[in-house]
Symmetry: C2
Subunit: 204 residues, 2 copies
């Protein structure tokens, strides 16, 4: 074997550079804290690269992600004012997706989730963002609101250099199969086990 | 059993409120990505609470954490300029801790690590921060540069409301025993397995 040639080269038709810079589908799953937290940590790196970041928050909660949202919105403002970093767009389900206005109508979470996914499809086709944070997106797939095969095919065929990170428990095996990087957050010890509930600054 | 009284109350001498708001020692360990990323994600929540954040970076690398550092420094500037969020202080080993000036001397990583830990001890005693990110701090403990029993005792006896998150592989069992929350980042799938190396915006 000639020196400097790796023993195994993936049969993917890519150059080494293309392979290195191939955009990733990342899944953070498992029962433990850290799935979304790590996704938002990843957004800090993307921001520093100047990539546009699109956050799509799929589960409604009064408290969840308020810290991350405030901080990432502040970083988006830093970009707008100084040019440092990249722009941040935050889409939140449950308060109505930002592109949908339906005042006075009943909440329909399944329809909201499908509309969110349709917007992501449009953004992927338009190459709107460098990093997509699809927070808690495993749940609408688990609950059958969004078709897993459609998600997998859309991610596989997305154009350009768009990284996608998906968080939530119970990631579908088809999604895991399609992903490049999958981390499972595993519990070793949780304060709840010692009778301590969640608190501000830690859980939200 | 009277209604509304939990079956088991921890024998810790704390009221429910005190127990709920008891500051945490958090450990992110395991072989997989996400340990530090999730710690910096946690820093976003702390920032939003207005807590002073102290980052102590224990392993030198040209690339590591440049994204997180730029973003958290930007958030620190937002705080300084507008009062939103909290202040951020970033201590980096390997470029010399910010409080040590020894130009022209040979690198001594063990001494650097011990000096870093001494500074953390002083900051804990002074209640300098609401959140301490001790990034890659498991390694100086693993390598015997910093005494684990001293770390455990210092964390146990720290005053006030100071949360501490420690990242890195191979967390010492004594540290795990002393922590309130321990997450293990477990590999399900990594791009390296498919011949893909790390890339900007994702790894740093």
């Amino acid at each position: 074997m000639p020196q400097g040639r790796p023993a195994a080269v993936p049969d993917d038709g890519l150059t080494t550079r293309e392979r290195r810079n191939r955009p990733l589908v990342i899944v953070h799953t498992g029962e433990m804290k850290g799935k979304s937290t790590a996704a938002f940590g990843l957004a800090l790196r993307a921001w520093n690269q100047g990539w546009p970041i699109g956050v799509f928050q799929f589960v409604k909660s009064a408290k969840w992600r308020v810290g991350e949202e405030a901080a990432l919105r502040a970083l988006g403002r830093v970009h707008a004012e100084t040019g440092e970093g990249g722009p941040v767009t935050w889409h939140k389900m449950g308060e109505g997706w930002s592109w949908i206005q339906r005042p006075g109508t009943e909440a329909d979470h399944a329809a909201d989730a499908r509309e969110g996914w349709e917007q992501i499809r449009r953004d992927l086709a338009a190459e709107s963002y460098g990093l997509y944070v699809l927070d808690e997106f495993t749940y609408p797939m688990k609950w059958g609101w969004v078709d897993v095969d459609d998600v997998v095919a859309t991610l596989r065929d997305r154009p350009g250099r768009q990284h996608v990170v998906i968080t939530g428990r119970d990631a579908d095996p088809r999604l895991v199969g399609a992903a490049d990087l999958v981390v499972e957050m595993t519990k070793v010890k949780h304060p709840m086990d010692a009778g301590q509930k969640g608190q501000r600054g830690i859980e939200w």
